[in-house]
């Protein structure tokens, strides 16, 4: 199955008529690097990797794909945690370990199903990294999608402005990727997530045409298609130019670190602060395991014996800050806080944040692999869900640590493990599945900020009815009649539930000792799709 070499040649030569050979990469090792993002989910090695630099080049590449009925996947910096940028030619890519299937309620589907679709081309925006214009007085910047989040903030800092959404990956993730996943970050508690900061978009639609969604006027008329595009994870087209709102730097900032001897005291303080009518600019929590890990990397002086620390940031006018701080101290005291530290200067503040933001990376000091979860629960039920998370991890013999956006109930349980141990992946998959279910049972939602991608696709049925999903699918096909843009993502293709079999072996490159070195040699063997596709394949969509 797969593609006909002749058709492939035609596609490649057309692509190379737009971009010079250097920017259409087909070397097997190079392609393999674009088969996955920062998550454990591996896709397949893309057919080719294209590097457009301008909107026109991007549009031409997409048009050529469309003309050849070839699927394509947009990719930014590849820091996604849901497998969004991983190319798929079928619903999932099980690997050697996936013999044990996690969710037991779906029978393993017909393994002989052939999707007969080519592996997508990856279109990466990393070379589209220019800041096109900055309008200081109106606080608007137009950027190309490959601009890195923190680079934008640095670029406008001399104007006293910054770009507010600050995912922990902000030093490396792209604005395009942020738009596609509607990213959040610690400071989104007060400032709102990405969609609140995207004013307008110039996008390349899946047929290669260019459209502008939204505009700079404060009260746009008509349907908010911009809103539909933000968070669409590359399934509605590719963002080519993005107008973002810039936020003035606050006149003063205060960063507090509250130390607790029990997680529930910490969580109660979070609820208390919000109940008192305060909205700190950030409200982040780490549990004991997380504190230990980040302290080893950052040496920020965190108390490694504490059950939990709460990082609270206030910003605004200096007078107001003092009052707010007082209030927070009172609330914390009523929940038996052990101590509250204040960052003495910008340097210490940076260190606190470095500790918080490096947690996901530093966790590999605990065990070589991690699985990072992302669910949202009502703030009032934080403690209950956290307890469930500890219990689930314990039962499956997994280490877990929690670093999360406590202010908006966005949990990030991090399971750490060594994928080289037998059967561990199955346990991780089971635990992950149970955590999602526990969060949903507590009235939560599937994803806070990392998106659906491959990871949560087959859980969508737990949250949405068939009619909801059909409506979403309809929206998708309005943009993308041929289903070429990032296929098999976000919207489940069938009845599959909890299909976590695409967990590659710990996200690590594993490969047999075959003749042809492959980053994921499992890909080279026919796969046994676990979910049947029941979406009608449009006429001529696949080769």
């Amino acid at each position: 199955m797969g593609s006909d070499p002749k058709k492939l040649d035609l596609l490649l030569s057309d692509l190379r008529s737009i971009l010079e050979a250097d920017r259409v990469r087909t070397d097997y090792l190079e392609r393999a690097l674009y088969s996955k993002d920062a998550s454990l989910y591996s896709g397949e090695d893309p057919t080719a990797v294209c590097f457009p630099e301008t909107t026109q080049e991007l549009a031409d590449v997409v048009r050529i794909c469309s003309e050849h009925n070839w699927p394509f996947v947009a990719r930014g910096s590849g820091t996604g945690l849901a497998g969004g940028a991983a190319p798929l030619s079928q619903p999932s890519v099980p690997n050697a370990d996936s013999g044990q299937k996690a969710a037991t309620d779906t029978p393993i589907a017909d393994t002989t199903t052939s999707y007969n679709s080519p592996v997508p081309v990856v279109i990466t925006t990393t070379k589209m990294n220019q800041i096109l214009s900055v309008d200081g007085p109106n606080r608007i910047a137009w950027v190309q999608p490959g601009v890195l989040n923190l680079d934008l903030t640095r670029h406008v800092s001399h104007l006293g402005l910054h770009y507010a959404p600050d995912p922990s990956s902000q030093q490396v993730c792209s604005i395009g990727g942020n738009v596609a996943t509607n990213s959040g970050g610690p400071h989104c508690l007060a400032y709102g997530v990405t969609s609140a900061h995207v004013i307008a978009l110039k996008v390349v639609l899946p047929d290669g045409s260019i459209a502008t969604l939204g505009n700079e006027s404060p009260e746009p008329t008509g349907y908010d298609l911009r809103g539909a595009f933000v968070g669409s994870e590359g399934t509605l087209g590719i963002a080519a130019e993005i107008a973002v709102r810039l936020t003035p730097n606050p006149p003063a900032i205060k960063t507090l670190l509250a130390v607790f001897d029990s997680v529930s005291d910490g969580a109660a303080t979070v609820s208390g602060i919000i109940a008192a009518g305060l909205v700190p600019s950030a409200l982040e929590m780490m549990d004991n395991a997380a504190i230990g890990i980040v302290e080893a990397f950052t040496q920020a002086g965190l108390p490694t014996d504490a059950a939990a620390v709460l990082l609270v940031e206030l910003d605004g006018l200096p007078e107001g800050l003092a009052q707010d701080e007082q209030l927070i101290r009172q609330v914390a005291a009523s929940h038996s806080v052990r101590e509250i530290r204040t960052a003495a200067d910008a340097q210490e503040r940076e260190l606190f944040w470095k500790a918080r933001k490096s947690a996901f990376g530093a966790v590999s000091r605990l065990a070589p692999d991690y699985y990072l979860h992302d669910t949202v629960v009502p703030r009032t039920r934080l403690v209950e869900v956290l307890d469930a998370v500890y219990e689930i991890a314990n039962r499956h013999g997994l280490k877990v640590c929690n670093v999360f956006h406590a202010g908006d109930g966005n949990l990030h349980p991090l399971l750490s493990f060594d994928s080289r141990q037998d059967g561990v992946l199955a346990r991780v998959a089971l635990a992950a599945d149970e955590i999602v279910r526990a969060s949903l049972a507590a009235g939560g939602v599937l994803s806070g900020e990392h998106g659906i991608g491959m990871e949560k696709r087959d859980y969508m049925g737990l949250m949405f009815t068939a009619a909801d999903l059909a409506a979403q699918d309809k929206l998708r096909s309005c943009f993308d009649q041929k289903s070429l843009a990032n296929p098999f993502k976000v919207i489940p293709s069938g009845s599959g539930c909890g299909d976590v079999s695409a967990l590659s072996s710990g996200g690590k490159t594993t490969s047999g000792s075959g003749e042809v070195p492959a980053l994921n040699s499992e890909d080279a063997t026919p796969l046994s799709p676990t979910v049947a596709i029941n979406k009608p394949v449009p006429e001529g969509a696949w080769i």
């Binding site: 593609s3 190079e30 993002d37 090695d45 990956s169 966790v363 000091r365 996200g507 042809v516």
Partner: protein, 533 residues
């Protein structure tokens, strides 16, 4: 499956067998988070995954397991500058440098085998002229020689022979002046290699004829005070030979006064930038120290060899260097690259002796910073008129404290450029700032400014600017932009590679670049390196 389908049509490069012998656990410690990407100079100029640390680790991992690689793998490994920016940025603590050095060793082995089995399949990549994979894009130029190519191995050998090295530099310098180099470049020989202007003669380090009364280690012709003498190529030879003979005996007696230190002189640094050594000597003497020069045995630290995967040569040089500087006196280094290499002998040779040696090694600023912190500011912290000791330093602290932070109207903005081997390898880059700040009485008119690129590499990278001139230039361009943004009139960098790499471009912007020690010692009255008293 698609993979098999594509390979033929895509015209992939042939593969060859290779055993990288990398540690799986070390490789597995990369969790692919990507946080290192923006700190990688080659990723910054290419924005391509295989030119990033995460990509390189994934490639190593794939090749390590499949035991088979392709030419593209070789190119991506060679393109790494080994700046270690990724190690500093990595929260997971991936030992990138070690993995890359091991990979390069395996590649050198393969190349050697290929050279032996001439013309056989394993040799495919070797000697083929191939394109530098990135950098200034689309110029379509092709070049030969990658890591440890044959010419490179030869020139690396030269590094261990100070006389020959200096001679070649002098010849090159003459050719430069006669316009031969320009002519050669015009007809396409090494046309994209940027050559700094090579000095034809250099002043020698001040040599001791006699030492101070009462000083132990005196009379050994090495402990240096006061006397300057111009030196030709021959002069340097004399120094090398004399010193090497003397160093053994000298060292025993040099259970030295606390202030006596070795100054490691190295290869290219000594051949091209001896004025920096002179400045270092001046600075050491200004705080009451004495400089001892090692013999010819310490003529090259082996860093370039090690980075290129030539481990056995690196080991030989390490042994030579160690025996040239025996005893327990601190070993000061004014080249960040050499300093990092000397500090790493412990892990290179894995002997107790090597570890003890490495523990004695300090970057010159590191050493000076401790001296200054201890209140031994001497002429450095004082008013430059020879006032020494504690009084001087207290005054320095007072005045320095007052001067710091305030920007004088006519002050010169000095940007501190952190060499990667100081910032990411040795992690002692702050000491440069400490030294310059504490010496503010000497340098009242300077204002230190920071670059906003978080210590991103400048692209010099040892021999990198010669092996990958286009990428090195593209990386250098970014650094230059950061410097221009900072508004600096002077840039200081504690590594010869960075100085030579950026010199020409900065000159065109009327920005001066020098070693921080030069800035300091020029101001020490009576002891300027120009020898004027």
């Amino acid at each position: 499956m698609p993979k098999a389908d594509h390979s033929a049509a895509a015209g992939e490069s042939p593969t060859f067998a290779i055993d990288l012998k990398l540690d799986d656990t070390q490789l597995a410690s990369c969790i692919a988070c990507g946080l290192c990407l923006p700190h990688c100079p080659t990723y910054r100029v290419t924005n391509e995954e295989y030119a990033s640390p995460r990509g390189r680790l994934a490639l190593m991992s794939a090749v390590n397991q499949s035991a088979s690689a392709s030419q593209s793998f070789v190119e991506h490994m060679e393109m790494c500058v080994l700046c270690l920016g990724c190690e500093t940025a990595c929260p997971a603590g991936v030992p990138f440098g070690q993995l890359m050095e091991q990979t390069r060793e395996a590649l050198v082995d393969i190349k050697r085998q290929g050279q032996r089995r001439k013309g056989r399949a394993g040799r495919k990549g070797k000697g083929r002229r191939r394109k530098e994979p990135a950098g200034r894009k689309r110029q379509g130029r092709r070049r030969g020689a990658g890591q440890a190519g044959r010419w490179q191995q030869w020139s690396f050998r030269l590094l261990a022979h100070p006389r020959l090295l200096r001679l070649s530099f002098v010849l090159l310098g003459v050719a430069q002046r006669l316009g031969i180099v320009r002519l050669a470049q015009r007809i396409g020989i090494a046309s994209h290699v940027k050559l700094p202007k090579i000095p034809l003669w250099q002043r020698s380090l001040r040599r001791a004829k006699s030492a101070h009364a009462g000083d132990r280690g005196a009379g050994h012709g090495q402990v240096v005070q006061g006397d300057t003498r111009e030196q030709t190529v021959q002069g340097q030879e004399a120094r090398g030979e004399a010193a090497s003979k003397e160093s053994e005996t000298a060292s025993e007696e040099m259970a030295l006064t606390a202030e006596t230190v070795w100054l490691f002189t190295g290869c290219v640094m000594d051949a091209m930038m001896r004025h920096v050594h002179l400045a270092a000597q001046t600075a050491v003497e200004a705080v009451g120290g004495q400089v001892v020069l090692p013999g010819a045995g310490a003529s090259c630290c082996g860093a370039l060899h090690r980075h290129a995967g030539l481990r056995s040569q690196a080991e030989k040089l390490a042994f030579r260097t160690m025996s040239a500087m025996p005893g327990s006196a601190p070993i000061l280094v004014d080249s960040a690259g050499c300093g990092a290499a000397l500090k790493d002998y412990g892990s290179l040779l894995a002997t107790q002796e090597a570890e003890a040696f490495s523990a004695r090694v300090q970057d010159i600023h590191e050493w000076l910073a401790t001296k200054l912190a201890d209140g031994q500011a001497g002429n450095l912290g004082g008013n430059g008129q020879g006032g020494a000791g504690r009084a001087g330093s207290q005054e320095a602290a007072r005045q320095g404290g007052a001067g710091r932070g305030k920007t004088e109207k006519n002050s010169t903005k000095v940007a501190v450029l952190d060499p990667c081997h100081l910032r990411h390898a040795q992690k002692t880059h702050q000491s440069v700032r400490q030294v310059l700040q504490t010496s503010q009485t000497l340098l009242p008119h300077i204002e230190l400014v920071e670059l906003d690129d978080e210590g991103l590499c400048c692209g010099a990278g040892g021999a990198y600017s010669l092996t990958h001139p286009e990428t090195a230039a593209a990386i250098g361009q970014r650094k230059q932009e950061a410097i221009l943004r900072s508004g600096a009139q002077v840039v200081v960098a504690a590594n010869p590679g960075c100085l030579l790499h950026l010199q020409e471009d900065l000159q065109s912007h009327k920005i001066r670049i020098c070693h921080p020690i030069e800035l300091l010692s020029q101001k020490v009255a009576g002891r300027t390196y120009a020898g004027r008293t």
